[in-house]
């Protein structure tokens, strides 16, 4: 701590505009006044120090406020005690060789305390440290102090950093809103309305209530307009936020469901172990990260990039094995296939539970995926979710390209539309089945990579998404990629929009009931394939 103080002082000495010599002298005199202990004389002395620009002004004033500024009775020399108890020279910040018993803390009263707080506030406004300035502005915004108006305006005038400028302007507006002339209040309200937040709304509403009864109607109107504007903007922002959450949920669902849709389309079977493919992908992510931790700690941030192919391969291989070992032997018996794959899902879950453990595994979010971006003020979108959305769209487009432009894609489409016809045209349907299944499972595995970033990696991971994936497939229609895409996004958004209105559980129940009713109208899904194949 002491070292830090020293460093801070040094930094301040380097960065702060150097105090002029006479200011320094005045500050030293003021220090002596403080030591004298005359409460009335101390107030102007505090102002002198605060304005002097000496590097030690801030630590001294803060020390005075906290009762750590000490005076020696004998010669009225002043020393600073750190919170840890070390005694420092005021000017240099170096340890002082004094007898602690000779020192007495300088006492202050409540009036001085307020003065000190104000002075410190404006002092921090001038701090060379950007975060300190921002924090000071936030503090002033939260508790506007009329005495800070002047330093605030000064600080605003010399500030270069746009974010800090905005924060200063907000703080200034907050001060004016509470303490300014009616005209200034109206102007401040209009300005504040530009950066809507719940706090701004609260301030505006309080200011509106505090307006004297005889104030001119223009001011009242300006405040009301500002309140209305903030309220609308807030609702919009909230909607945008919910919508974004819905989209990001939808993109996870897309990754989980699309493989299901493809295999259902090609083979007409539902793979109940599909959720476990997602789970395997998430564990692959975890395992790859552990390996990086052990062997490549420097590249830990990039382990997700290696995890994606690993998850694809692991889940794809599992899917291939399931298709060859079980599903292909149950050809033409979709209900039995459903049961058998459910059995596989039980086995896979239990195997992971016993082999790796039932507790959640943590996959660390890489630094490039943490934090958030703020495209418009007040709308914070977390980076990891944005990455997931982009990732899902990329995977979707890749799959689309694969289905449209490759030989396998052509065969998949042929088998989806008319298996028997495809067979007679020489397409080896068992191979197509196995590859489709591996592909669908692999994509689910990739979905697991994305999920590991926003959910716990546990043996039950797949189960929590499988029901939603089914719903997506039913809504989206069999074997229809765009249908699945729209189905997933719609479901994600609807889920999130319903949540605040109906609560998460009730929302889900409503979605399920909607599904049951929906299927009445369109038994083949929203974007069903039409034609003879779909009739069978």
């Amino acid at each position: 701590m002491r070292l830090l103080l020293v460093l801070l002082a040094l930094l301040a000495a380097i960065a702060a505009p150097p105090a002029r010599a006479q200011d320094e002298a005045a500050a030293r005199e003021a220090l002596a006044v403080l030591a004298a202990g005359n409460l009335d004389a101390m107030e102007p002395a505090i102002g002198t120090i605060a304005r002097s620009g000496v590097p030690w002004a801030e630590p001294v004033l803060r020390g005075l406020l906290d009762g750590r500024l000490l005076a020696r009775q004998a010669d009225r020399a002043v020393f600073l005690r750190t919170p840890e108890g070390a005694i420092l020279e005021v000017a240099s910040g170096a340890p002082a060789e004094v007898e602690a018993r000779a020192l007495r803390p300088i006492r202050i009263n409540n009036r001085l305390r307020r003065t000190l707080e104000g002075a410190l506030g404006s002092l921090t406004l001038a701090s060379p440290d950007r975060t300190v300035r921002l924090a000071a502005a936030e503090k002033l915004f939260a508790r506007p102090d009329p005495s800070a108006l002047e330093p605030l305006e000064a600080a605003l005038a010399r500030e270069a950093d746009p974010a800090v400028r905005a924060a200063f302007a907000r703080a200034r507006a907050a001060v004016l809103l509470d303490h300014g002339e009616p005209g200034a209040r109206a102007e401040a309200a209009t300005g504040l309305a530009e950066s809507p937040s719940p706090a701004v709304l609260g301030k505006l509403q309080a200011a509106r209530r505090a307006l004297p009864a005889d104030v001119d109607p223009a001011t009242v109107a300006a405040l009301d307009a500002a309140i209305a504007r903030v309220e609308t903007r807030l609702r919009l922002l909230e909607f945008a936020q919910t919508f974004f959450q819905g989209v990001s949920l939808g993109s996870v669902l897309l990754l989980a469901a699309i493989g299901l849709a493809v295999t259902f389309g090609v083979m007409g079977v539902i793979n109940m172990a599909h959720g476990e493919m997602v789970m395997l992908g998430a564990y692959a992510t975890w395992a790859v990260q552990q390996a990086f931790r052990a062997f490549l700690p420097g590249a830990l941030d990039w382990s997700l990039l290696a995890a994606a192919p690993a998850a694809f391969l692991l889940a794809g291989a599992a899917g291939w094995a399931i298709e060859r070992g079980v599903i292909s032997r149950l050809y033409g018996r979709p209900l039995e296939t459903l049961l058998a794959t459910f059995g596989i899902s039980l086995i896979l879950q239990q195997a992971v539970r016993l082999g790796i453990g039932a507790t959640n595994r943590e996959v660390v979010t890489p630094s490039w995926m943490s934090g958030f971006v703020e495209p418009v003020p007040g709308l914070a979108l977390t980076t990891n979710r944005i990455v997931i959305v982009l990732f899902a769209v990329a995977v979707f487009l890749l799959l689309l390209a694969l289905v449209r432009a490759t030989r396998l894609g052509l065969e998949i489409r042929a088998v989806t539309q008319n298996r028997r016809m495809a067979e007679t045209m020489g397409i080896r349907t068992p191979r197509v089945d196995a590859l489709t299944f591996a592909l669908g499972s692999g994509i689910a595995g990739i979905g697991g990579v994305a999920l590991s970033q926003i959910d716990n990696v546990s043996p039950n991971l797949g189960q929590s998404y499988i029901v939603d994936s089914f719903i997506v497939v039913v809504f989206g229609g069999v074997g229809n990629l765009w249908g699945t895409f729209l189905g997933a996004l719609t479901l994600g958004v609807v889920n999130k929009l319903l949540e605040p209105v109906a609560g998460a559980v009730l929302g889900k129940i409503l979605v399920l009931l909607a599904l049951i009713l929906f299927i009445q109208r369109r038994p083949q899904g929203l974007f069903a394939l039409r034609g003879r194949a779909a009739e069978a």
Binding site: I270, G332, R333, G343, I347, L354, V474, K508, I509, Q520
Partner: protein, 374 residues
């Protein structure tokens, strides 16, 4: 078509009846010291298996016969169970922890002031019994009508039955539904005035479940022998063709479906007093899928298969979850895979195949007689 035993249905019922009677005989007539004596505490366990057997027979009616794989039959079972549970809760009266004369404990705990309207009447057994039949029956009817009318079938139907039971599970987990939330209904005291935990009551409940099973089997046997039973097979193998023959397949399906839901509800109603609790986990999709494996293990579309399967799988579950709990899910999962792959007709299927045909095992999987033109 499995026709073994069809010629001697009465004999079959007598056989099952005797097997059911084994428990009271071993429990009451065999002296306590004997190796064959069945302890009192095991009676409700077998009663539970009997209820499961009824549930399996119910599922087999729709799955084995009509080819409708329900993954939500647990919902009907649980609804019947809740209806009975509500009666049992009302029977507690002022003997609850909070000693409220009317409100069950969990409502007092939630600070509710009065009984929700849908709890009215459940203090009377006949009313509760009517609800045991009506609630699952009505749900089955409405759901079936919606689904069959729009010709949802196959895996689609299975998925939405699963969605149904899942939605119900979520709903029953909510405290404000008024069914005890998470914890469900429990701490029952007596049924029809008999203390619920006494050995005599338990044996009585066991016997009642046995009678229900015999009834369910009689219904199943009759259905199989009736023209309707044959129509259901036809619907399973080629519904469109049956329609072009002038059969109202919607009505036939709706009938067995609703009948099956009612049977499941009755099974649930007898299950609850014997296990002493009903909670939302009975609605879980996994619980419903498990019923299908009982039926598959025993043998689909057979009379004894579902009963056998329910006893075997659940007996194994009781034993394994005690002896080696971590193995149970492997065994269950393995059963799903093995039975579908190598034993499509279940255990009864093996028995049936032995003395009869030469090589019927090679019989191809039934190709659905789809009525597609061109």
């Amino acid at each position: 078509m499995a026709r073994a035993g069809l010629g001697r249905p009465a004999l079959l019922l007598v056989l099952v009846g005797c097997a059911v009677l084994l428990v009271p005989v071993l429990n009451r007539l065999v002296p306590e010291g004997s190796a064959f004596h069945l302890e009192d505490r095991l009676v409700p366990l077998f009663g539970k298996y009997l209820a499961y057997a009824v549930l399996a027979v119910a599922l087999d009616l729709v799955w084995g016969r009509a080819g409708i794989l329900s993954l939500g039959h647990g919902a009907f079972f649980a609804l019947g169970g809740y209806a009975m549970g509500m009666y049992l809760m009302r029977q507690i009266g002022p003997r609850g922890v909070y000693a409220h004369p009317v409100l069950p404990d969990f409502m007092v705990f939630l600070n509710w002031q009065e009984l929700p309207w849908y709890w009215y009447g459940f203090d009377r057994f006949p009313f509760a019994l009517a609800m045991v039949v009506l609630v699952p029956g009505a749900l089955g009817f409405v759901f079936g009508w919606l689904a069959f009318r729009s010709r949802v079938s196959g895996v689609y139907l299975s998925i939405i039955t699963q969605a149904l039971t899942y939605a119900l599970m979520l709903a029953f987990f909510r405290n404000d539904m008024g069914f005890g939330g998470n914890n469900g209904l429990t701490d029952f005291k007596d049924i029809l005035g008999f203390p619920i935990a006494s050995p005599d009551t338990r044996l009585g409940l066991y016997l009642a479940t046995g009678v229900l099973l015999l009834l369910a089997l009689a219904v199943a046997i009759h259905l199989r022998r009736s023209p309707l039973g044959r129509l259901l097979v036809a619907i399973r193998d080629g519904e469109a063709r049956a329609r072009f023959l002038g059969h109202d397949t919607l009505r036939a399906k709706l009938f067995v479906w609703t009948l099956s839901a009612v049977l499941a509800g009755l099974a649930g109603a007898l299950y609850v007093p014997q296990v002493g609790i009903i909670n939302p986990s009975e609605f879980s999709p996994a619980a419903s899928i498990e019923i299908a494996i009982w039926v598959a293990v025993g043998g689909r579309d057979t009379i004894l298969g579902p009963v056998l399967g329910a006893f075997l799988v659940n007996g194994m579950k009781t034993w394994l979850t005690g002896a080696a709990p971590e193995l149970w899910l492997f065994v269950l999962g393995g059963l799903f895979v093995l039975v579908t792959l190598v034993l499509p007709k279940g255990l009864v299927g093996i028995v049936e195949l032995l003395p009869r045909r030469r090589a019927p095992a090679a019989e191809p999987a039934p190709r659905p007689a789809e009525a597609t033109g061109g």
